[in-house]
Subunit: 191 residues, 8 copies
């Protein structure tokens, strides 16, 4: 990671959103999957046209991309430190960090080390909410509700959309589809 | 508000951050004050060089500004609706919305109506956290911990700093001062 | 909805009770159904002789009727606003509003906008109770316990019964049957 | 009480709203008073023009009135029973019942016995909410949030207002004043 | 029940322990049964030699007996009142009263009305504990933990055993068997 | 204590109720005192005519007496063990055991060791309730609500009253006075 | 146990870690097993090379060993007392004590009686955490999170490792393997 | 710190216990002081004969010593990292780590980085307990109850006492004094 941070790649070729999580058991919440509600992957890849970048040196064609890492605050603290410290230099604009358990330290520590990059915390379990949200004054993080990695992705793109009007349009399109769905449900009740 | 939204003012003269709260009793939490911990005002005005804009048609000289409104979701729903609906057209880039009580609907409703503008919710009381954070899929909001309007302001400026490198520098300067303070405390223990 | 509000239909032909909910996933709680406990529909239609009115311009023969809408406070705020604002003009006497999640804003917002119409909130989940019940002074709502849409319907008819003695009789009849059921259970234990 | 129930007084001369509470220590919550937030008394007497009726056989001149009783479910169960059983015959249209503690049984028992009269429960303390709201299917009660006897009074008058258009006007007037208050606060911030 | 209270039967022929519960759905907790942990029935009938008395006028041969009633505080308040008021005159020495839900009023009301008879409350669900235990000063009840009707029966017999040394012996015998069971488990681990 | 247990004193001269608590800081809750609500002492000594016995070998004249000990489950486990083990032989009929903190083990351990003597647990703090009430099957204890040592004393005397009709009368007298107090409060509101 | 305590066996032949639990139903949490997460047994026997000693007089060949006992604080208080009182004399260096339920007294009582031996409490259920951790000043215990007997074993060996450098090496080896596992998961995401 | 870690000082001259905390506002809990309950300092310095070492290169005469640092996980993550990483090399045998707030990450992160050194976490506030105790499998920490830094110090010395019999004696002496204090309180009640 530190090597990548030192390379000087054009902004278009680095990932825009970084997704980190504390354990591979968090994948179903962060990415969604079989029998699970859609997660951050679904929001980014299916609704908003992002591509996943799995090789830092070989960017996909899509203009907007995200990457994913599993780093544990408690089991691999050095790896977590390295990821957060190099994030801005590696070209990321916003990080989505998820962790479960009652000591969900990954989002907090990532926000502290990656500062001033904006970090959106995702408590993977209900019992992780307090630990993710409770930062002291001077150490900013914002959080979504337990398990809502889909919404964290929308919020991340809201941040990016202040710079990229194209993303603002994608968000508006997504919302229009969503509202039509609710409208149809109500109409069905009256037929 | 609707008239202001229709005017076509240059971006530099409109407020960048909007602060709304549900009641004037929330002012001490949102803005800080006597005997209270510093709030969003202190972060913006004292630490990060923002000016408060009290007259929409007469911008202060400072490049970055914020404005403040008291609108109640439950007592003045029309006013809340109008503020959120016109926010983006009035030139805001991010909204900080605070509310207290167990039905702290203002941040949620503002986020829903002002979409796709990013909204940071501030639960004014501990018991407001659940209501602020618990949005359904497709309706994004991010939140800080109860009473942490100071941090909400830092997060808001983190969002703006992706566009304005000048703000990124201010955030870094603030952080350096903060860390020196902690370092001095520890050193005092050893003398 | 706004068109309907402007028509001038006789009171006997408009719905007396309006049932709104935030999502079609709330239907099983609000209306009951397979494998679920009886809901507001069962109370109104099976126990108290109400008919469902699915077409506003074509009232059923039954004197007392109810209607149902799905409107989301966070995903379709305009629709919610329109329903609550026109409710009294459309002839409703009482609204039962149910929502789930931790930010169950629909009952609160409906009560605020439909005021002075009485609104009975139904928290669809246990975690929705705080959000539904916690309104500030001056913004009245009353609520039933989580999932108790059946009781909300009884309470709605208690309100109507102050005007319509016929409904008071139906409530008394329902209660007599209920008490006989409990009596029989106790008697069975002694045989 | 039972004697009063047997008398046949004209509806205009009996109290419309009955306020019962479990202990005289609940008076400051139910009625308001020095250093306390306004309660049901303030809502009824100061905002909505009701008079308190302290002598059942000597009605005040005001058209709409309320009465107050202290009856303890656990210390004077017979008295509670008598009050609830005779309430409808004594001419009441709605009861507001408040109790504190974790076993706040008075509102529940009153609602069960006074059925089919609508009863609005007021949990006097936060810890009383669960006990007041948790009624089983078939035993209706609606409740306001802890300590919100002011709102309970508004809700009671919303119920009465379905019969008495005069009360509907008073509710609308009260609301207009309330909204102007919020509007002025917001305006003050901009001067 | 009131007739029975007026009869003058010898103490040996009346039930010693009364078990009341709010709903037949509480039977599996109060009495135990298939797939459930043993309840008060198992403790009384299987461990301590009590017989169930199902006909008040025809006592079983066993010296110590118990009876069971289903009475709902909220659905049949009159029946509950009658049971509690006549309990002492009908010859009972202690009542075990169980109820579920968040408004578990049956044990409290029974204790208030049957006073000075000792009443042991059984919260049928975890969420019933607060409501059962929270009586105000001057209104005594004691309670066991959620679902522990087996222990409530042991406690009831502890009360009776102050008068009847025979029951004290049965309690000691039961305990000896229990301790041998634990001892054997530990020994098994070392073989 | 063990010596006392071996003496063979007449039942009239030994204490009937034993009060134990885990720390002298529990005294204000268990015994009441300045600025505190009345406790077990007030119930026994002032309302029900018990005398405190401070010297085991020198009984007061009153027929019914209680004694008090401070024994800590965690700091003096041997003393706790000795008290509970000898309680029945020392002539006690019921024990009231109070403890504070989240690990309020004294009531539980006393109940386990003093078995089959009935033990009433008093959680001295709200956070002690779970620890006091949560005994496993086969290990009976009953408990009152947090801080309600006054009610624990009433319950203890209810147990004794099954043997001593004189105590039953005292309980009834106490209750009559209590009810008159509530009645007077309600009457004052109507004058 | 008391006999064993009086024998004078060489330190190498006595168990180093004692595992006690309140019920055989705690075995699956404390020891792990089918369909359960690995427990203290797995940590000690599979990861750190300990052997179980089931016969005190016949030590296994392994230098470091542990033993297991089931003793109930509430059902067999004497046995619990004997185990804790003799633990240090029987050669143990640290005790891991687990219990479930809301009154999880075994770890606390064991720590109080076995003092000054270090005791690590394992709350077997989430609801046992408060009871295990809440000891008063002067009565030390440390605890792990609910169900984390695996970690309790690691902590116990951390204590032993201050004396035995060999155990320190085993802990470091275990950790290296663990970190490689997390690293591989993250790498898999990028292939 | 890293320089100190590389020096090769004799074990007797390095601190045995390290106390770290997240903020100087935690000092009153960790060290005790005016109007606060005694903390870890009081336990170590006043009860167990430890001296504070404020200059790493100039050890006090006392054989056993402790040192204190303020390092914030969220505001000075590098400093925290450096302290934990060098702790074992700087000669510490056990760390006591305290932090407040809902995201009390300092104890967890310190335990993860300082591994295999034993770390005892002190939640400075009640709301910090979950965050301190909730570590995932493979990342050991043990914790005391909220605010109980005094007990954490006793536990730390229990760990050291396995190596140093002298400390075991000091622990036993402290306990004897404590028990005499409880005994005297109970005796005072009987005079």
């Amino acid at each position: 990671l530190r090597e990548q941070a030192e390379t000087d790649r054009p902004n278009e070729e680095t990932p825009d959103v970084g997704i980190v999580m504390g354990s591979d058991s968090d994948l179903s919440t962060m990415a969604g999957g079989k029998g699970k509600r859609p997660g951050a992957y679904a929001a980014l890849a299916e609704e908003l046209g992002f591509a996943e970048q799995t090789d830092y040196t070989d960017a996909p064609e899509a203009r907007f991309t995200f990457e994913t890492f599993v780093v544990s605050a408690h089991r691999t603290p050095e790896l977590m430190y390295a990821y957060a410290e190099t994030a801005e230099d590696r070209g990321l604009d916003v990080i989505i960090a998820g962790a479960g358990g009652k000591s969900a330290d990954l989002p907090n520590m990532t926000a502290s080390i990656a500062y001033p990059l904006p970090v959106i915390g995702v408590p993977v379990q209900e019992k992780s909410v307090d630990s993710v949200i409770g930062m002291p004054q001077g150490a900013p993080i914002t959080a979504v509700d337990a398990g809502k990695s889909f919404n964290a992705a929308l919020s991340a793109v809201q941040i990016l959309s202040r710079q990229y009007p194209e993303l603002r349009e994608r968000l508006v399109d997504y919302h229009r589809d969503l509202q039509q769905g609710v409208g149809e449900v109500s109409r069905d009740l009256h037929e």
